[in-house]
């Protein structure tokens, strides 16, 4: 009507347009804001509670050291988060990002608009992955900050009895939190598949958490050592090797390979289901 020519952006630009719209929708969601707030605040509350009651979470690796070195705090949180929190953070946004359009009945509109299916899929997947990474890194940095501010930057006893100087601890803590990103993204891919397929946010968010717990149980089966190496959930613990002397990095490499393979397969399956859905009839 304005006489201006409407130019259709290229595929990359199209994906980014979708991603920007998704991001705007997410930041308006109370659930997502709450998750980011919790990731930032809970580590501080945890350390404050520990300081007040002068207790230590003995059953977790580094738990004995939370009152002695601030670097133990992010490691205790990481060890604890591996059981179910990391799968939850990976699935929180991804499990809803497709299902939300079902809930709001938006698909007939979306699929007939100028953005292609590939652009829609990529844009949504990109935002889901970005949110997973952001949530995990926020929790990690907040735990590290809570430890350093409320306990201090004392040296930490490693997993071979060696005393690690503060600078080394800092590097290893950051590397450890980065090392859980590949398996977190595998759970994000699983949540995307469920979100596309089940069209329900409850399934998309809850099932990856349950799957994470089941994989942990499976890893406890006596004699299942070969199987355990092939589970994405095992990659949540691959950072242990960084704190040993001599360092061992085999599990890190294995974790990245397993997570990437499983993640690619799940993402591919999600795309196939999404590409073949028909909402116009």
């Amino acid at each position: 009507v304005t006489g201006q020519q409407v130019r259709r952006p290229g595929p990359t630009a199209g994906t980014l347009v979708v991603a920007r719209v998704e991001l705007a929708k997410l930041t308006a969601q109370r659930r997502v804001r709450l998750a980011f707030g919790a990731c930032a605040a809970v580590p501080f509350l945890l350390v404050l509670v520990l300081r007040v009651q002068s207790g230590v979470p003995e059953d977790t690796l580094f738990g004995r050291w939370v009152q002695e070195s601030g670097f133990a705090v992010p490691l205790v949180v990481l060890g604890f988060a591996g059981t179910w929190l990391l799968p939850l953070l990976g699935a929180l946004v991804a499990g809803d990002v497709f299902a939300a359009e079902d809930r709001n009945g938006m698909w007939p509109l979306l699929l007939t608009r100028s953005r292609s299916r590939a652009e829609l899929f990529l844009g949504k997947a990109l935002v889901a992955a970005g949110c997973s990474v952001a949530l995990v890194l926020l929790l990690g940095l907040s735990s590290l900050a809570a430890g350093l501010l409320l306990v201090g930057s004392q040296p930490l006893v490693g997993l071979s009895g060696q005393l690690l100087p503060p600078g080394r601890c800092l590097l290893l803590v950051l590397a450890s939190w980065l090392s859980v990103l590949p398996p977190v993204l595998t759970f994000t891919a699983l949540a995307l598949l469920l979100s596309v397929r089940a069209r329900s946010a409850a399934v998309g968010v809850a099932v990856p958490v349950v799957v994470g717990l089941l994989l942990q149980l499976l890893a406890l089966v006596q004699g299942a050592d070969v199987l355990r190496h092939l589970l994405p959930s095992t990659a949540f613990e691959s950072w242990h090797g960084l704190f040993a002397a001599p360092e061992f990095r085999g599990p890190l490499l294995q974790g990245v390979l397993v997570s990437a393979t499983a993640g690619a397969a799940l993402l591919g399956a999600a795309w196939l289901v999404f590409a073949s859905r028909d909402d116009r009839g």
Binding site: E58, L61, F62, R64, W65, Q67, E68, V157, L159, S160, G161, Q162, L163, R197, A219, L220, V221, Q222, G223, A224, D225, V226, L227, R228, H229, L230, T234, E237, H240, G241, F243, A244, A245, F248, G250, P251, Q254, A269, L272, V273, S276, R277, D278
Partner: protein
């Protein structure tokens, strides 16, 4: 169409999980006596050096402590490896140059991490008094991990 695809993937998934489960019970075991001994011995020595320093006598070396750990499964019908309850006996040299033995009850978890509980009579109580206040006795109970790949 989506349902057909999902249904087509199901047998493959079942086969894969079945195959993986069938592979359990054979293949390499992660927790073995040599691995545990190679982890517990040096960790004990380093922590003994640390403890001696906390008690006001720095300068001890792990070579001086010269640890040797022997580990075996506890209360497990015939099992010689695998996660569970172990006993590790560490023979070492004290800071006074006397030979000593510390028997640790070790809980080894699948994946290669362990918790070792020591005898307070040999390694001291839960906390140690230092000029800066009480600190955790690093030797009474310690955690460690070893490589399994």
């Amino acid at each position: 169409v989506g349902e057909v695809r999902t249904a087509a993937r199901l047998p493959g998934l079942v086969l894969a999980v079945g195959g993986l489960l069938a592979s359990t019970g054979c293949g390499p075991v992660d927790v073995t006596a040599p691995r545990l001994e190679a982890a517990v011995g040096p960790a004990f020595a380093r922590l003994y050096v640390l403890q001696t320093a906390l008690r006001g006598r720095p300068g001890l070396t792990t070579a001086w402590v010269d640890p040797a750990a022997t580990c075996s499964r506890r209360e497990s019908a015939g099992a010689t490896s695998g996660a569970g309850d172990w006993t590790c006996t560490v023979v070492f040299r004290t800071s006074d140059g006397v030979g000593a033995t510390a028997v640790y009850e070790v809980t080894a978890r699948p994946g290669g991490c362990y918790t070792a509980d020591g005898p307070a009579s040999v390694v001291g109580p839960r906390t140690l008094p230092t000029p800066d206040g009480d600190v955790v006795n690093p030797l009474l109970r310690f955690d460690g991990c070893f490589g399994t790949t």
